[in-house]
Every structure is written in structure tokens, then in C-alpha cells.
């Protein structure tokens, strides 16, 4: 089974979703991501969906669930790069993804994570990078 790569980006983890996710791939991602959050002490998870042409309720549920799991593990989730047509469609579908933060792009997503931290940036000693 393929797995979706997870990159470390400063204090955050970055996942880029480009393919149609099957159920098993989605579950594997959730598992990998939570293990990595704990192993790295990451403070945030960025999920880049700029490559996705649609987000249906299955994928929406997956995003919600990743955000909820990450929060329990002390990391916030930001969904970045949603296309305008996808956003319009999601709202009409009835899925406002209220449990998930969003940002226009990775840079703004990173800023969002940085600013929500109690520690002032720079003064915090970085968890070990691997």
C-alpha cells in the first residue's frame, strides 16, 4: 500500500494530498501523522489540498478527524490551498469544516501556527529535527 509522505517544516508537519484518497490510505495517513506528531513534538499540521479538484464528505470527514486527533496530541491543523470551486461546492454540500482552520497557502498556514503558540517565536527551543 502506498503511503502519503509527511515532511517536517520547522515546528510543523506538512502533508500534500494530491491523489484521490481511498479509505485505507486515509486511515494510514491518520496513523502515520499522529505517530509523527508525538515523535517530533510538532505544534502544527499543514494539509495542502491545492492539488485536489474536489473534496467530498468522505474527505471532509477525514480532514475533520485529523484535526480532532491532532488537537488531542497538542498540534493544530491548518488546511491550506483549497481551490475556490471546491470551497463553493463544500459549503453547498453542507460541509463548512468549522473544526478546521484554513489558510490560503503554506506560508500563511505556517504563520497561523506560529502565532497561536503561547511561546514567542524564537525564544522557544526547537524540538529535535530528524
Amino acid at each position: 500500500m502506498d503511503r502519503i509522505p509527511i515532511l517536517k517544516l520547522g515546528r510543523a508537519l506538512l502533508v500534500t494530498i494530491q491523489v484521490d484518497m481511498h479509505d485505507r490510505l486515509a486511515l494510514a495517513l491518520e496513523e502515520d501523522l499522529s505517530a509523527r506528531i508525538v515523535a517530533t513534538g510538532a505544534r502544527g499540521v499543514l494539509i495542502d489540498i491545492s492539488g485536489l479538484e474536489i473534496v467530498d464528505s468522505f474527505m471532509g470527514r477525514m480532514l475533520d478527524s485529523i484535526a480532532a486527533v491532532s488537537r488531542l496530541l497538542d498540534a493544530e491543523t491548518v488546511v491550506v490551498g483549497m481551490r475556490p470551486a471546491v470551497a463553493i461546492t463544500l459549503v453547498e454540500l453542507g460541509l463548512a469544516l468549522t473544526g478546521v482552520q484554513t489558510a490560503l497557502n503554506v506560508e500563511r498556514g505556517m504563520a497561523l501556527i506560529g502565532h497561536r503558540l503561547p511561546e514567542a517565536s524564537g525564544e522557544f527551543d526547537e524540538p529535535d529535527d530528524e
Binding site: 470527514r61 461546492t89 453542507g94
Partner: protein, 134 residues
């Protein structure tokens, strides 16, 4: 891709759901849909195809290019020989699910379509037909 072609796609695996999406996208493009309209019908198709697989035990999706007067559109019909839906009104409610989903598939697909028809007989199966116009 002539506007009168009918495609019948089998839905048996979650890969088939992906194929339905791709095919519907192509047909929507062929019908001249803009990006938002494409996205809406493909998303509706994705919801219904997944239900056909998960609840209907598999089935088919028929894609038709349709035309009334000058308006072009796409009609999709999902059919399965699964258990059927005992209470349609309930199933169409936002948030109602028997499978741990979000319960937005049917209600959402209806909102994303211009026409929505559902026919289901318990013990025999379910047929859902949607259309979206340009």
C-alpha cells in the same frame, strides 16, 4: 465524445468511485460546464457512487449527456440491487447516517443538483438519478 453517448460504469471497488469522478468530469467539460459547475456535479457523483458501493453493495453509474432546447446538461443514474432505503425522508436528512459517515451524501448531492430523483425498494435496491444543467 458525442453528446448522445451513454456510458455505464461499474462500481465495485473504491477505485471505481475514482473512475466515476473522472468520467463525470470529462462529460461535464464536454457539455461546456464552467469550473464551479463541474466541481458540483463531480462532487455529487462522488457521494452517490460511494453510497452505491458502501450501502448498495456495488452497482452501476450511467452517464448521459442531455439537452432541452438550448440548455445542455449531464444526467447521472446510480443503481444497485442492495438492501434499499426503508425511510427515504430520514435518509435525506442532513446528518443522518447508518454507517458512521457525516450523513451529507444524499442531502448534499440533492443540493448540488438541479434535478434529483430517488427510488428505493427494501430488499430490491436503490436508483438515484440526478441532473445538472449548464
Amino acid at each position: 465524445m458525442s453528446p448522445t453517448t451513454n456510458d455505464v460504469l461499474a462500481i465495485r471497488t473504491s477505485n471505481d468511485v475514482v473512475r466515476v469522478r473522472q468520467e463525470v468530469r470529462m462529460r461535464a467539460v464536454a457539455a461546456g460546464f464552467g469550473l464551479v459547475d463541474q466541481t458540483k456535479i463531480v462532487t455529487a457523483a462522488s457521494e452517490l457512487a460511494r453510497n452505491t458501493l458502501d450501502y448498495g453493495g456495488g452497482g452501476t453509474c450511467t452517464i448521459e449527456a442531455v439537452q432541452t432546447g438550448k440548455r445542455r446538461g449531464v444526467r447521472l443514474t446510480f443503481e444497485d440491487q442492495g438492501p434499499g432505503i426503508p425511510d427515504l425522508e430520514l435518509a435525506l436528512k442532513d446528518g443522518y447516517t447508518t454507517g458512521g459517515g457525516l450523513g451529507l451524501g444524499l442531502s448534499g448531492a440533492r443540493r448540488l443538483s438541479n434535478e434529483f430523483e430517488i427510488h428505493s425498494v427494501v430488499g430490491q435496491g436503490t436508483r438515484i438519478s440526478i441532473a445538472r444543467w449548464k
